[in-house]
Amino acid sequence: DAMVIQNPRYQVTQFGKPVTLSCSQTLNHNVMYWYQQKSSQAPKLLFHYYDKDFNNEADTPDNFQSRRPNTSFCFLDIRSPGLGDAAMYLCATSRVRGTGGFGEKLFFGSGTQLSVL
């Protein structure tokens, strides 16, 4: 039973051509995250939503934007992809901290591998 679903699994785009990656969840979690992960590196947080409250990391380039139209869906928009944006993009969800049990762990999707030509 897929809980965090990312589409597509692989995305190829051209240099400078806008691209959107999508994430959906069936867990009804308040918090959704977007991470960028380059080969053999730790995931780097780009931004996260607490419900509709958007939280951008200070070092996330303006080229990256996000939308969360409802609880279930979240999108990552890359306005003008550069070669350096080629990476795996991971979506994750979580319940709010302090809700007990395993509420504090993250559930990850399978990721979207973005290639920029």
Partner: protein
């Protein structure tokens, strides 16, 4: 700011043997969560084990256990009876338990574990 350090970029272990992955962290907080995540070559990140800082007892999940030393800020992962399916990148991660602080999961750089048949 919190940091997570994994000093072993790669490790190898013989199948059926035991291996310990190291992780240290730095924080001034008293309430937090620590995690070990596994990322196999298929790239989906899955939770291996978690530890709440207020609990003195070390967490255990089947063949996986941790050695949590709060004063030393150390959180190592022990894998017993290593199996070929354990081959993956392992990330140590930290999450603040203070709901007044930014909700970030901070990842270490990872340890790539090889299982030798």
């Amino acid at each position: 700011a919190q940091t997570v350090t994994q000093s072993q970029p790669e490790m190898s272990v013989q199948e059926a043997e035991t291996v310990t992955l190291s992780c240290t962290y730095d924080t001034s907080e008293s309430d937090y969560y620590l995690f070990w995540y596994k990322q196999p070559p298929s790239r989906q990140m899955i939770l291996v084990i978690r530890q709440e800082a207020y609990k003195q007892q070390n967490a255990t999940e089947n063949r996986f256990s941790v050695n949590f030393q709060k004063a030393a800020k150390s959180f190592s992962l022990k894998i017993s009876d290593s199996q070929l399916g354990d081959a993956a990148m392992y990330f140590c991660a930290y999450r603040s338990g203070d709901t007044n602080r930014d909700d970030k999961i901070i990842f270490g750089k990872g340890t790539r574990l090889h299982i030798l048949p």
